[in-house]
């Protein structure tokens, strides 16, 4: 796949599926050569991952995208570790996706989603660093006419041990770049790591504090125009008619145009473009979808809860017999809504089109998919297109899609030679998301007379992301990712051992486009399972921790994170007056996560989340300080969703248009998050997403402990809950 010369959009999507376990990269990934490749400033590339400047500056190439999650710093740590370079001299750059294609995908996969940024590239980026170190050492040894085995590298300095002679990476870089890249590249034993595993500071902070950092929305190019857009708010609908006359005469306006099912205004400034767009009278034709509402979608999903046909993904024993014959039967239905990513920076892209080239500037989670979109929309071959990747003002899965890139290129195509920046208003962003899938679940459990869980059935009914976004990744029609956290084995496995079990999915797709939303399907699945576990424990008359522990004895890593939060969270010990606790555990993206939340409830509806103790076992932990920040940040995202966020559908369109009706956590609501990063070694688990799913059920279980009320539909604002 590395040497795929044919870059159809489809092959991009397949190669970079946001879920599905990364690209099968062989150990023989080309690191560059033969012949010296030079960076833009003329400095030599040692391997494709490492450029060394004469002043010893080390430029580490980063293929994945940085959207706040810290992957850029983590990947640089991995390269620097094996390179044995001076960390204080490390800077980073993004090779463009077009260069990657031209160089036979030397940097591998650009896709940044599914918490894969580090775990699926750690092997080859470390090798890229190690190979460069070997070449630098060899070059120094050649210069001294001594065997390389007598030389060691540390901190960007090479020392000839017998004679004590020293030289620096910058001095031997030219000679090293001319050497053959070694074939056999051994990696360090993790116990010898000096930079991996350390809480080093991020490499990309200063410009974010001074206003210098350029995001997609900030791109400025000579002669650039600005565009605002309104796509048909009823998904799948069309423009029936529009009257451009008034807008065309407004200040700064250059063009009012229809792009597929959208109307766009191009003007000198975005403010002019947006103001004029608001003056265009547009009539939409939503077709049959105009009749779709939240109620009609809910009805369709509810029907799925008892439908005959469903895709089965986890089955063992005879769940029906176990439940029918149980001493006690527990049943509950949970409902999870559509949600928008609401990245802080609305979607945008800047494009310039000429008859034989197309270039795009964009914050994207998938540079190669953006390149494919540019090629497809411009009608030009991939080789004539390229993408400059910029820092993302939040991604969370939304920026793995390229709908806005396509729009920007189509607009730029109407104005050849002129760069045009397309920026969505917040309203456009809210109306044209790739929404968190909507899902209902019916859970049924059977307990024996001793209160042991003998049978469990979970019927999911709702949307499949893959069916809409990556149909080629479906498994005979089934979407395995709908079952994240419920898999029989693998990186999203169910960690409870239950003798009789059946988990299936009645796929019910809607016209509202679903997308990968931080955590993907673990947000709802963890709420379903982990709240229900508390319901079962209650029915069994058992402590929620003991009930879980008894089912987890075969999974020591899961048990360890659960015990860690129970211990630090003070489970079983008295809490402060009025404070109640709740637990949750899950496995996703290869990592093991758990949380213990503390809440208090005043006046029956004012919920305060005081503290959440969280644990994660990610196998290896590249940067524990950044992992802590991802844990706390994921809780902000997950709890905002649970308390406050829902996109409802009326007349075929989303009703929420801005933060007044789609609220997000503020600092006053932030609980104290105490993180336990407990890497047990031997595997690489995800960081950005897994922890998000335990905050909500832990808090819900604590709310139950405080009030005796079990909430089963979300967000909680719909139940009159006030989040204080």
């Amino acid at each position: 796949m590395l040497e795929s010369p044919k870059l159809t959009r489809r092959s991009f999507l397949i190669s970079s599926a946001a879920v599905g376990g990364g690209l099968a990269l062989g150990l023989n990934i080309p690191f560059g050569g033969p012949g010296v490749v030079r960076a833009a400033d003329g400095s030599p590339e040692i391997t494709a991952w490492v450029v060394i400047r004469p002043d010893d500056t080390v430029v580490v190439r980063i293929a994945r995208s940085e959207m706040g999650q810290g992957t850029l710093t983590g990947l640089a740590q991995l390269v620097a570790e094996e390179l044995e370079c001076d960390w204080s001299k490390v800077i980073t750059e993004y090779p463009t996706p077009g260069t990657n294609v031209a160089r036979k995908r030397v940097w591998g996969d650009y896709g940044t989603g599914g918490s894969r940024g580090i775990r699926t590239s750690q092997d080859y980026v470390r090798k890229g660093g190690a190979a460069a170190r070997m070449m630098l050492v060899q070059a120094a040894a050649d210069g001294w006419k001594v065997p390389a085995s007598e030389c060691v590298a540390a901190n960007s300095t090479i020392t000839h041990k017998p004679s004590g002679r020293k030289t620096s990476y910058g001095k031997v870089a030219e000679a090293a770049a001319k050497l053959e890249v070694p074939k056999d590249v051994p990696l360090k034993d993790p116990k010898d790591w000096k930079i991996i595993g350390k809480p080093v500071k991020r490499l990309d902070t200063v410009d974010k504090l001074t206003g210098k950092q350029v995001y997609g929305a900030d791109v400025k190019l000579p002669g650039m125009l600005n565009a605002a857009i309104k796509d048909c708010p009823i998904f799948g609908g069309k423009v029936k008619s529009f009257d451009p006359a008034k807008a065309a005469g407004m200040p700064g306006v250059k063009k009012v145009l229809q792009i597929e099912n959208a109307i766009a205004v191009v003007a000198d400034t975005w403010w002019h473009a947006k103001t004029a767009l608001d003056a265009v009278n547009i009539e939409w034709d939503g077709g049959a979808n105009e009749k779709v509402s939240s109620a009609s979608i809910a009805e369709m999903l509810t029907e799925g809860l008892s439908a005959e046909q469903a895709f089965v993904h986890n089955q063992a024993g005879d769940s029906k017999a176990a439940i029918d014959g149980a001493a006690k039967k527990v049943e509950a239905v949970y409902v999870y809504p559509f949600q928008n990513h609401a990245c802080m920076e609305p979607m945008n892209a800047t494009a310039i089109y000429t008859a034989d080239s197309c270039k795009v500037w964009v914050g994207t989670q998938n540079g190669e998919a953006a390149l494919a979109a540019a090629a497809e929309a411009s009608g030009l071959p991939v080789a004539k297109c390229d993408v400059e990747k910029l820092l993302l003002g939040g991604g969370f899965g939304r920026r793995g899609f390229t709908d806005y890139v396509r729009q920007a290129v189509l607009i730029a195509k109407e104005m050849p030679g002129t760069p045009v920046k397309l920026l969505w208003s917040r309203e456009e962003d809210m109306l044209h998301g790739k929404y968190h899938p909507i899902m209902q679940a019916k859970l049924t459990g059977g307990l024996d007379a001793a209160g042991n869980l003998t049978g469990l059935e979970i019927r999911l009914s709702g949307q499949s992301i893959l069916a809409s976004a990556r149909p080629e990744a479906l498994d005979k029609g089934k979407d395995p990712f709908s079952f994240q956290g419920f898999w029989p084995t693998g990186e999203h496995s169910l960690e409870y051992t239950i003798p009789n079990i059946k988990i299936d999915h009645a796929m019910r797709n809607t016209h509202v486009p679903p997308g990968f939303w931080r955590g993907v399907n673990i947000n709802q699945n963890a709420i379903f399972l982990e709240c229900f576990m508390d319901e079962l424990a209650l029915a069994a008359g058992k402590d929620a921790l003991e009930f879980r522990r008894a089912l987890m004895s075969k999974n020591p890593k899961s048990l360890a994170v659960l015990n860690a939060v129970a211990d630090k969270g003070g489970w079983g010990k008295p809490a402060a007056p009025g404070v109640h606790r709740g637990l949750a555990h899950f496995r996703a993206f290869g990592s093991y996560v758990a949380a213990c939340a503390e809440v208090s409830v005043k006046d029956g509806n004012k919920v305060k989340v005081h503290r959440i103790v969280a644990a994660t076992d990610t196998g290896y932990a590249v940067n524990p300080a950044q992992i802590e920040r991802q844990i706390a940040g994921s809780f902000v995202y997950g709890l905002s969703a649970m308390f406050a966020q829902e996109c409802t559908v009326k007349d075929g369109r989303i009703e929420q248009e801005n933060f007044h009706s789609y609220n997000s956590m503020r600092i006053a609501q932030m609980p104290k998050v105490e993180s336990i990063v407990m890497p047990s070694g031997g595997f690489w688990g995800g960081v950005g997403e897994p922890t998000i799913c335990v905050a909500a059920p832990a808090v819900l279980n604590a709310i139950f402990a405080a009030t005796g009320k079990r909430f089963r539909s979300f967000p909680l604002k719909n139940h009159g809950i006030e989040w204080v």
Binding site: R202, T205, K208, L209, M344, S425, F635, R666
Partner: protein, 149 residues
């Protein structure tokens, strides 16, 4: 025509007086550190100082700030010397994506000008910016660190 004093520099702009200050800053002055997040005073990404007070520039017509002193994120550090808030942000590795942080830093700077040692309750009341990455824990720590500095 609007005459504005931005980061100590007085400049005249040929804009409609109703244009929000945010867009004059970003598109006329070229200061893109001030961000657009919602356009309706809900998120705080566009926060600047007008005569020292924090304001959400997306809803301030440029006509309302003529003759007033406007400070943007670009106007905080003098000759590359970070302010104590910026320094605390750096020391505590606060930003994730960073998109909300200009507004966050401007809001916090104004808070510390008024209340040099804010309590948690004062922070909760004054800082109502949205951060979708969820940096609040580090923001709170950095505010206290800046107050101590």
């Amino acid at each position: 025509m609007a005459r504005l004093t931005i980061n100590g520099k007085s400049q005249a702009f040929d804009v409609d007086p109703n244009t929000p200050l945010l867009w004059v800053l970003r598109e006329q002055v070229g200061l893109t550190g001030t961000k657009y997040g919602c356009g309706v005073a809900l998120c705080g990404a566009c926060t600047v100082h007008v005569d020292g007070a924090p304001m959400r520039s997306c809803v301030v017509p440029v006509s309302a700030v003529e003759g007033k002193k406007i400070t943007t994120i670009e106007g905080l550090a003098v000759n590359g010397r970070l302010t104590k808030v910026q320094q605390a942000w750096l020391d505590n590795d606060v930003p994730q994506c960073g998109y909300c942080q200009s507004g966050m830093i401007m809001a916090v700077t104004a808070l510390l000008d008024k209340s040099p040692k804010p309590t948690d309750a004062q922070i909760d009341a004054a800082i109502t910016n949205i951060c979708r990455c969820g940096t609040f824990q580090q923001v709170r720590e950095a505010i206290h660190a800046a107050a101590r500095a």
